[in-house]
């Protein structure tokens, strides 16, 4: 059964990585296009991330088919139960998905034609694609959250309204933006790295790097809060989950994300630090910040202390950004065009993706030994019953 979980998990994570990036970029594209009305570079950013979305998005859908087929073959009970009990929301989601595709593809492939007619309507088209994909993701989040915190309701729609649906949806929304931001910055870092002898596009890629970093760090800060709300909600409804995750080998699943979170915070800080500002680079203050981040990792298995430290880190990060951001946004920042910043941005992009994946893994582990809490057990899907293995 562990084998089955591994394979379904592996392809789910591959799908989620691309899908979440796609969702994040889809939300950001019309916003960037709107900003492009006054700063034309942002129109290029919008086009670039839409192109990136299309490629990752279709691949993620194909991976979804693969994941669904693995799920059908290896977890037939859970699969049929979920499809049966959520059939109306799923059919609605499918219809939304189709309309979303009909908005997204013309948004990219008829970019110039639409913009020559009306930029506003083109943005509306992109915005509609973003809203619809959030509806689709929201319904899937409802099913995912139900598997951990089910409610005894009669209809599929009512089952979506389980205690952790909204917190999960909010947490994922900002998670998508975190990885979209950091991956955007990583891409810019990579382009600056490979074209460091050519200065032609440096201005554009520096803008992309700054935009990506800004999106990443701001949403990461929100993530700390939304993550707390989500974890608190789970703890309220299912008090058995947290002790289970903190015992034995599962502890690493709790510590791991905080190591990655610390890496993202420290890496971001180092990149922001390379911008010259009049005040704020105090060694005492920065030493304290590093200490707090280390404590965040060390105290990860102790929820009370971890939350306290998280709050302090959040305040410190916000305070630091409050005086770095004005210089970051308004001024030219040639000091960012160094191999150190390029490399750091690439590492942070990878770290954000891994962080997203570890979060997904925790939720799956938290359900064990059930596939749907209190309804279907892993054991019921055992291989000796399943002809696929013979």
């Amino acid at each position: 059964m562990m084998n089955a979980s591994f394979w379904v998990g592996l392809f789910s994570l591959a799908h989620i990585t691309l899908a979440s990036l796609g969702v994040g970029c889809m939300v950001l594209a019309p916003i960037a296009e709107g900003l492009g009305r006054t700063r034309p570079h942002f129109t290029d950013v919008a086009y670039l991330i839409t192109r990136f979305t299309l490629v990752t998005y279709t691949t993620s859908i194909v991976l979804a088919v693969f994941m669904l087929e693995l799920f059908t073959g290896l977890f037939p009970l859970t699969n049929s139960w979920l499809f049966n009990h959520f059939r109306y929301p799923l059919q609605f989601a499918l219809a939304v998905f189709l309309i979303q595709l009909l908005c997204l593809y013309p948004y990219y492939h008829f970019w110039d034609w639409f913009r020559s007619k009306s930029i506003t309507w083109h943005m509306v088209l992109g915005g509609a694609a973003a809203v619809l994909i959030l509806v689709w993701a929201g319904i899937l989040d409802g099913i995912g959250s139900y598997m951990l915190t089910p409610v005894d309701e009669e209809s599929g729609w009512a089952r979506l309204w389980n205690p952790t649906w909204l917190p999960l949806m909010v947490h994922r929304f900002f998670g998508n933006l975190v990885i979209a931001g950091y991956v955007m910055a990583a891409y810019a870092g990579w382009r600056l790295w490979t074209n460091r002898r050519r200065i032609k596009d440096a201005g554009y890629y520096l803008l992309l790097l700054k935009t990506g970093m800004s999106i990443g760090i701001v949403n990461l800060m929100i993530q700390l809060v939304s993550g707390f709300v989500y974890a608190y909600r789970i703890q309220t409804v299912r008090p058995d989950v947290q002790p289970k995750l903190l015992e034995g080998g599962s502890t690493i699943l709790v510590i791991g994300p905080f190591i990655l979170l610390a890496l993202l915070l420290l890496g971001s800080h180092l990149i922001f630090r390379s911008v010259h500002v009049d005040r704020g680079h105090s060694y005492w203050g920065e030493g304290l910040y590093v200490l707090m981040i280390c404590l965040l990792v060390v105290l990860a298995p102790f929820p009370y202390y971890r939350r306290l430290i998280s709050l302090l880190v959040l305040i410190q990060t916000g305070w630091y950004l409050s005086y770095v951001f004005p210089a970051w946004i308004r001024h030219s920042t040639p000091s960012l065009n160094t191999p150190f910043v390029h490399g750091s941005a690439m590492i942070l992009g990878m770290a954000s993706l891994i962080l997203y994946l570890t979060m997904g893994t925790i939720r799956e582990v938290a359900r064990g030994p059930d596939t749907i809490y209190g309804i279907i057990q892993h054991q019921a899907e055992a291989s000796e019953k399943n002809e696929v293995f013979h």
């Binding site: 087929e69 037939p76 399943n386």
Partner: protein
């Protein structure tokens, strides 16, 4: 485990599955055919350095990428509908065909990755060693698509001729597997060829410049030559397929050829005849647009057209009139002796293939003599007429493709099977309503997905 009964008629589920499966197959077949045509076109472009071939390859790449995106949605939709409406069938077939299904999905992933790399890295692959890597992308995409189709053909043919029912290799190499796959290869090439020709024809009608019109004319002729060539091979492969169906599953064969759904086969015959007829018309339009058309054509074409019309009528005639919907209420006659397969329809098919082939050879010669930078010399009216013929060919191919899929599904469904001799439609009924205890749709139904 228990499930909630759906509480809707079985026909709703059948309709949902049929619609999603047919839409899915329409795009899947186009992808297989267009990726191969794209690979051939890109290779010709790479070798000959002809500009119009490069432009056409890019057009095909765009169509391929859009089709891949569309089919990925329809794929998800089909899997959703199968899980919702036919869970017992879906889990039963999945228990038997786990690896082919997985292989198909993995290869489709490969096709998507390589097709996307081909289209989106077009500028990247323009110079030096990158040209060959770029060319490799579309061949890899075509390879993945072809093998993915092979995988799904294993399942599709097994559902009709599972012989024996549970034995891995025999399941894969069931009596109709190879022939179905071969039949689909040519079918896909026909559909993709005419589909590309149809896209070129539509673009021709909207083209703003003379250069664009010349290009789309040439692209349309190119797609036509490939599609029409593949169309003429279809009866030969189709005959082999039906022959093996006759030996593998006589009841299904009888249903389609002489039984309840024989009218559907006659309808497919009508569509095939119309395709050959329209193709011949396009060939004549191509040839007459040449500055010096071959003299022999003026004698051959009217004769060939007469034979093709006669053959189409013969092929479309049903043998058992009582099976034709509505007609059985109008006339008492049960048998139409002219609708017999042996010898009339064999003669009709031979006539269509031989005279269609003759017209195809003329069109091939006309295509070969097209000037490199211009299209045909004709009036705008003739150009629009040629475009309309190509669009009709693409439309007819779509209809015949869907009808053929319907024929194969009918061969099982009319006899009450979802998987021949393994699972009946009856077995899925419990998904729709709880047992006849009369307690309504709120009752739960027993469901065991491990059952064989």
């Amino acid at each position: 485990m228990t499930l909630e009964p759906l509480g809707i008629p079985l026909s709703v589920g059948r309709l949902a599955i049929a619609a999603s499966a047919l839409l899915h197959s329409l795009f899947a077949t186009f992808i297989v055919g267009s990726s191969l045509i794209g690979a051939i076109t890109a290779t010709f472009s790479h070798v000959t350095r002809k500009e119009w071939l490069g432009r056409l390859a890019r057009l095909i790449a765009f169509a391929l990428v859009l089709s891949t995106a569309t089919i990925s949605f329809f794929g998800v939709g089909l899997v959703f509908f199968l899980n919702i409406y036919w869970p017992q069938f879906w889990h039963r077939i999945f228990q038997v065909m786990f690896w082919p299904f997985l292989g198909e999905a993995a290869l489709f992933l490969g096709e998507a990755i390589f097709a996307y790399a081909w289209y989106y890295l077009w500028e990247w692959g323009r110079h030096g060693w990158r040209q060959r890597v770029h060319l490799a992308f579309i061949w890899l995409a075509a390879g993945c698509a072809g093998v993915a189709m092979f995988m799904i053909d294993i399942t599709a043919s097994y559902m009709l001729t599972p012989d024996p029912v549970y034995s891995a290799w025999e399941n894969i190499l069931n009596p109709t597997m190879i022939h179905l796959d071969l039949h689909r290869w040519f079918g896909n090439l026909t559909w993709a060829g005419f589909g590309i020709a149809g896209i070129c024809a539509l673009s021709y009608l909207k083209a703003p410049t003379e250069t664009d019109r010349n290009f789309f004319q040439k692209g349309g002729a190119y797609g036509f030559v490939l599609g029409y060539g593949a169309l003429l091979i279809m009866p030969v492969v189709g005959y082999q397929y039906l022959l093996h169906l006759r030996y593998g599953q006589p009841q299904a064969f009888y249903t389609v050829m002489l039984g309840e759904r024989s009218w559907l086969f006659a309808f497919v015959g009508l569509l095939y005849g119309l395709l050959v007829f329209m193709g011949s018309l396009y060939a004549s339009q191509m040839i007459r647009s040449q500055p010096n058309p071959p003299v022999s054509f003026s004698g051959f074409f009217p004769f060939s057209l007469a034979i093709i019309v006669l053959a189409t009528i013969t092929l479309a005639m049903p043998y058992h009139l009582q099976h034709v919907p509505f007609l059985n209420q109008l006339i008492d006659q049960e048998i139409n002796p002219l609708g017999k397969m042996q010898p009339y329809k064999y003669f009709a098919l031979s006539g269509l293939v031989i005279f269609g082939f003759g017209n195809w050879l003329y069109s091939l010669q006309a295509f070969g003599q097209m000037p490199p930078h211009t299209g045909y010399s004709h009036t705008p009216r003739t150009g629009r007429g040629m475009a309309a013929t190509l669009i009709s060919l693409a439309g007819l191919t779509m209809i015949i493709l869907l009808s053929m899929g319907w024929v194969r599904e009918s061969a099982r469904a009319v006899n009450g099977y979802l998987i021949y001799e393994v699972m009946r439609l009856e077995d899925e009924k419990s998904t729709y309503q709880s047992s006849s205890s009369g307690k309504g749709s709120s009752n739960e139904i027993r469901f065991n997905p491990f059952e064989r």
